[in-house]
Amino acid sequence: MESMFDKKQNLEERLKFVRFYSQWVKSVPNEVWSRQQADFIDSLFENARNFSLDAKKYLKTIKR
């Protein structure tokens, strides 16, 4: 049966983006790439406050 999702192709596409992105990071000053990265990561950080699992449930989940 033909797979609905081509994992290999998906990874190749993601790696293509990683290579594009690394070239961009290398081409700009630290202030530029790190500002964008900090904005992105800080938004995830803020969102983590809404994390719904307590420690016990979280530890149980990551053991799986």
């Binding site: 790696l15 990683v18 790190s34 500002r35 995830l44 983590a48 699992l53």
Partner: protein
Amino acid sequence: MDIEFSGEKISLKNKVLSKLDLFVIDFVNILEKYTDYVVVSGYVSILFGRSRGTEDIDILIKKIDMETFIKLNRELIGKQYWFLNADNPGELYDMLQDGLAVRIAVMETVIPNIELKFVKSDLDKISLKEHMVVKTGKDGINISPLELQIPFKLYLGSDKDIEDAVYLYDIFLKYLDKVKLKEYMSILKVKGAGYGIDV
């Protein structure tokens, strides 16, 4: 990207620090008062700009005795951290002794958290002994040697890990010690040619 290499030091001047960076820096500034440490795995690629988040930061530490661990535990709790696995420091220390990780987060949060372990394998010991120091302003973070980090990510093998390996390889291509990289790839029995990591 402006990078300056000087021996084992990598300087990342003018990096805008994220809240994740500040969390790690605050934690390691406490940790290093008690033992040697090295940050390994995903956060290393994030520190150098990879555009992804993480729920945990993996840190290996040199083994410490129970008394030192209790002092570390006390200082962390006094500075608004908490241990997710247990409250009792003796129980936490036993976990570390058994080769398990203990997780530490800022009070009233679960993620992100620090996943702290004692060094165990020979490669863990190499990571600790031959660590590099990344300077972001006045602060420093000890990280695993990049020549070991890249093969290790390939060894872990998930899509995310392979992407991290490719990212670090592309960023540090001209600085990497290819002989060491090849040696660690051989030890871990990983191949990177299929992903453009060709040594």
